[in-house]
Symmetry: C2
Subunit: 331 residues, 2 copies
Amino acid sequence: MPPARKSGEFERIRWIRDRTEGGPRIAVGPGDDCAVLRPRPGEEWVWTIDDLVEDVHFREGWIAPREIGRKSVEISLSDIAAMGARPIAILAAAEIPSTYPERSFRALCDGIRDAVRSAGAALAGGNLARSTGPLAITTTALGTVARGRAILRSGARPGDEIWMTGDPGGAALGLAAIERWGRRRAPRAFRPPIDRLVRPRARIREALWLARLPLHAMIDTSDGLLADLGHILEESGAGAALDLPPPDPRFRALAARAGRDALDLMLSGGEDYDLVLCAPPGAIEPMRPRFERRFGIQLRRIGRITRRSGIRARIDGRPLRTLPRGFDHFA
Amino acid sequence: MPPARKSGEFERIRWIRDRTEGGPRIAVGPGDDCAVLRPRPGEEWVWTIDDLVEDVHFREGWIAPREIGRKSVEISLSDIAAMGARPIAILAAAEIPSTYPERSFRALCDGIRDAVRSAGAALAGGNLARSTGPLAITTTALGTVARGRAILRSGARPGDEIWMTGDPGGAALGLAAIERWGRRRAPRAFRPPIDRLVRPRARIREALWLARLPLHAMIDTSDGLLADLGHILEESGAGAALDLPPPDPRFRALAARAGRDALDLMLSGGEDYDLVLCAPPGAIEPMRPRFERRFGIQLRRIGRITRRSGIRARIDGRPLRTLPRGFDHFA
């Protein structure tokens, strides 16, 4: 355990650094002006940045500092995964209120380290600043992929099948439960959805596995199923006809208990960090059972890409008239 | 001019994207999950992240939105410069209060674009989030340098000369003037130091020019001359004997007028974004006149690296008893 007293910026940086493993690609890690990375011929690097801001993405009491640290990294890793890339390095910038306890700060760093480690990546550096407002963590991640093999949003073609991993709406159900009862008082049945919200895991291994198939487009679901599919459609200049299963009865019951509509959570609930992908007809189905066995999550065909723009959806075979929208920070 | 009404996140992103040039190294720019970069054999990439947080690094009224955007990029570019690297790409993450005017948001984006452009780099993407607290911008930059040629903090050796570009303390003097009179009411004579604070320019061209010389270590002065030199000393396991000129009489007079000690500003004033470098004896002096002519700023020898740790300083030949410390966010 590190000493629990308040420490200065440089002391904090040293503390973080002492606890940071390098990686074979990291020529220079934390402690210099920049991290130095070693690319190889034939590779591309993918690179992303994402924020986790108190009172916007989370509230104190909902989520432990270690979970905040972990999630701040997972959200960037999820973007790397959505490219079909392998994460190699992370930088993290933290804006810390001056009243933030030292113990919490260190737990937060441990969370960052947990996520970086379990992804097989390296923490290559970062920045610490004071904040007079909310706690905020920005992370940026670099990943590597064979040249020309990054899976973009723009590659979906009419006729492609649309598939998704996991069960949409879980994180939003967790959020609904926390908003209703608070994290500690939420009924036991809500623990799994709450876990999805506070301990998301980027689908890195799943995405690398899927990336060997002839995918045309992929995205992670951070804004919600419809909103993120919408990003693919906009970039690909296409539309989609969705044919969704009805919400699972257990999910529907939990949603009702939390005072929410199951379908709305499914279609527009954000922060699932699952994958939506487009592939030529017949390319995924033969591999589906192996995927589901290997990763213990569902891989479901949810529709197809159409030439006609917009999203048309059927639930359990019945057309849906009005579609809810995904999360938009500034709407 | 873009429409002045409030716009949604995706509309904002599209607006930014429409105004973003690509670059030869950017295979995929803004609008996908990640930017895709094209490294070449024999190169290294340097990568940094930095924050600019309202009420910590700036206050509204001190600095225009466009200047905030510009500075948020320059501070990361300055880290790239300090490695002797050439910037290639930037990602920017903005946490925007929901009350922040659309016009200011767009000016801020223009400032980001100005800085990226004038550095010959590309804006490769970013993230937008709402904030319930202060405006904050985090930028991360990647730069390229020939393999093994990145100039680290750790390479200074006893006997090396210590040099610095420009005049230390300018930005801190500007801050003192703003704190005393406000930006608009500050006497005209303080405009140049205020400009240094609100419109810093990363010393990219200067650093690339200097990097052709046999430098052992380099850093940019963001925390203050002594603090940043201290980082070099710590990383290099060495000390320094400084022999500094007395403060320029004009600088001293302005400092006094702003109620500050000139020497204190010079030694510990932050945010100059100048360069401190270490090189073998005699390596810099022959090139100094060309540097000064070319860039219109001074290049001064300010001391030497010692085996004995710590910093000893003489000002105008007289030993300085107590050394002020640089800026520490959490001290």
